[in-house]
Symmetry: C2
Subunit: 387 residues, 2 copies
């Protein structure tokens, strides 16, 4: 076997922790509260079958040919209408993961500063690590990013998840959004507003997006993965025309365009009114499951564990007393038959050892309580070890 | 509008020539011999409708959920069976353009040497330019890459299109493949074997792939775009397990995985025997169109223009006397109502001014002769200008 000569960036792509976690988490008999995927029972299988038929009937071979890098016109128009922008401001991406990657490609030179929340979504770090940026962190609390903690620097990118953040579930209130927007203008930074969960509110719709507040300073990332189906791998980025053109150039080199058939299917689903219906159905299901999980946490977890009830999305973030290491604890949790995601996975700088993320979305309801009971046992034992 | 602070690589993504060409080429009344896309009338629309139905029936929501980065098992197995490798050696990509990008990501540091054929496929240059390599060129003739011209250096990547090359249509004979493989071993280079057209032979199937000859030194790129439909955006890379693992890491950061629904559809099409049938149908159609175009070229082009009849694929490469500049000539061609692709587009170093590429695949048969007549007029005028 030759010694293959990889690029330097390839080493930065390695993530042994996550790979290890994924392997362990799939062990038989383990109740996984670790998932980051939507509940498959929400996927509109029959409607997608119907939309596929309609798409091929209406579009014929055009749904199967090479298509514009920016996306199929009716889908761009639908997205633009929903988000209150012009279609030229929209580019369809292969999931919002590709949106993150394209933003990294187009903006990040080695050593550039990227400001992220602490904690933040690990997929963004994975997308940007190959471009070798320098991460700065801003604190969050139960209401998301803490504006007073925004630094007096000018990061190239500032990454914010205002709606039902992954992993904390927090929602950034309107006043904080104004402060973030003002700070971005003053410090000449580009906001990357990642919004996979905005439609998944339990009671109130989230306030106006950062994009609405400062449209020329925001790349907004959206996705159909959490509302229709991740397997279609379709999301979108919205931004100023100039930036969308740059993202399109980068996308042309990366994969020419996103799959056309799926775009035609989504256009049909939109016309059939299925997408809005999905949003409503998914909200209802997730609200019920969140209530269930929160009830069990209340009932079973030791009182030293704290969390803020999420107002939407897919996750709850647990905070334990300092000294608990959720990464070290993970193996004994697996042995007891429960999986979660340890806090350090969501840290750009390696902290957050005493936190962990749970989902209420993809765990079967009848297993949820047992999962929490097992988790409680693990945590109790660890807390006793602290004394 | 703020001055957006792009990465240095973003400038290297610009390709004003190609963008300009694309714009001009779509003008009304222009007969385009410039296309690089398959004939849409070959796409199995009804069969894809049926396969979509079957995929959702069999897989249900699993065809719509997040799925493994490496690809769905039955599709990987099908590809492995067809190519005579193990499924672990296969990763499904978002078209073979993504295969090129992932190879660049995983292997190319700034300034690394990449050896390409002259001429070569422009999409590979587009994929790799952001990684800022240094291109070296190896000459080609009517039988493809000229082994005697292979340099005494050790490029990180060596990019070869052995079957019905884009743009020349040439096919690399078995003896030359042996020489290329021996050279790669001796010079410790990784061969990137790009094979979108291998199934599109007119008479004889191509000889054994470079991958067969030196499996541990080759990343082989294949695609379903030319046989089933490009709109599904599904291709694959095959290589040593270690390299496939690295490509999977890079792909996870880039788009998590390729669309699952399309992979399930392809698996159904494979089981229904449609893919092999498509290969046969497409071969027959393209052979007929190649014969047609070659006949018209023979009949109408000035005798100073030369070409080698392709044995498969989608393209013919015309060579004109030195002094003709096909890039400069392009605008007057468009004015006369015919489009081709100028030679320099296929050069890593800016040469090839007196060559051009024609396709026989996507031009309507009833327009083909008129297209050639218009092209002949443009070339005659240019040749007269030379005297």
């Amino acid at each position: 076997m030759p010694d293959y000569r990889y690029a330097a960036r390839t080493r930065r792509m390695e993530n042994p922790i996550i790979r290890q976690l994924l392997r362990l988490g799939h062990r038989e008999g383990v109740i996984s509260l670790a998932g980051g995927i939507p509940a498959a029972e929400t996927f509109p299988v029959a409607e997608i079958a119907e939309a596929s038929r309609r798409a091929l009937e209406r579009w014929g071979s055009r749904a199967l040919q090479y298509s514009p890098t920016e996306g199929l016109a009716p889908l761009r128009e639908y997205i633009a209408r929903r988000r209150g922008v012009r279609p030229e401001q929209v580019i369809v991406t292969s999931g919002s993961q590709q949106g993150l990657d394209l933003v990294g490609r187009v903006f990040l030179d080695e050593g550039d500063e990227v400001l992220v929340e602490s904690p933040t979504y690990m997929g963004a770090l994975q997308a940007w690590n190959p471009y070798d940026p320098r991460y700065l962190e801003v604190a969050t609390d139960a209401d998301g990013l803490v504006p007073e903690d925004l630094p007096e620097v000018s990061p190239k990118l500032t990454y914010v998840l205002p709606n039902f953040q992954n992993p904390t579930g927090s929602m950034l209130p309107a006043e904080r959004r104004e402060l973030v927007a003002a700070w971005a203008r003053k410090h000449d930074t580009l906001l990357v507003e990642d919004d996979p969960y905005g439609h998944l509110y339990f009671d109130e719709e989230p306030p106006a997006s950062l994009q609405k507040l400062c449209p020329d300073r925001v790349v907004y990332l959206g996705t159909f993965s959490k509302i229709v189906a991740p397997g279609l791998r379709l999301g979108y980025a919205i931004g100023p025309d100039e930036i969308i053109n740059r993202l399109a150039q980068a996308k042309q080199a990366a994969d020419l365009h996103s799959q056309a058939f799926g775009q035609a299917i989504l256009s049909e689903l939109a016309e059939m009114g299925i997408i809005e219906r999905q949003e409503e159905l998914t909200r209802q299901l997730y609200r019920r499951r969140a209530e269930l999980l929160l009830g069990y946490l209340e009932q079973h977890l030791p009182r030293q564990v704290s969390w803020s009830p999420p107002k939407g999305g897919m996750f709850v973030w647990l905070t334990l007393p300092e000294g608990i290491d959720t990464l070290k604890l993970f193996e004994s949790a697996i042995e007891r038959g429960v999986a979660y995601v340890p806090g350090p996975v969501f840290s750009a700088t390696g902290g957050l050892a005493s936190s962990l993320r749970l989902t209420f979305v993809s765990v079967p309801e009848e297993q949820m309580e047992e999962g929490v009971v097992r988790l409680a046992a693990v945590l109790k034992e660890a807390l006793e070890g602290l004394d």
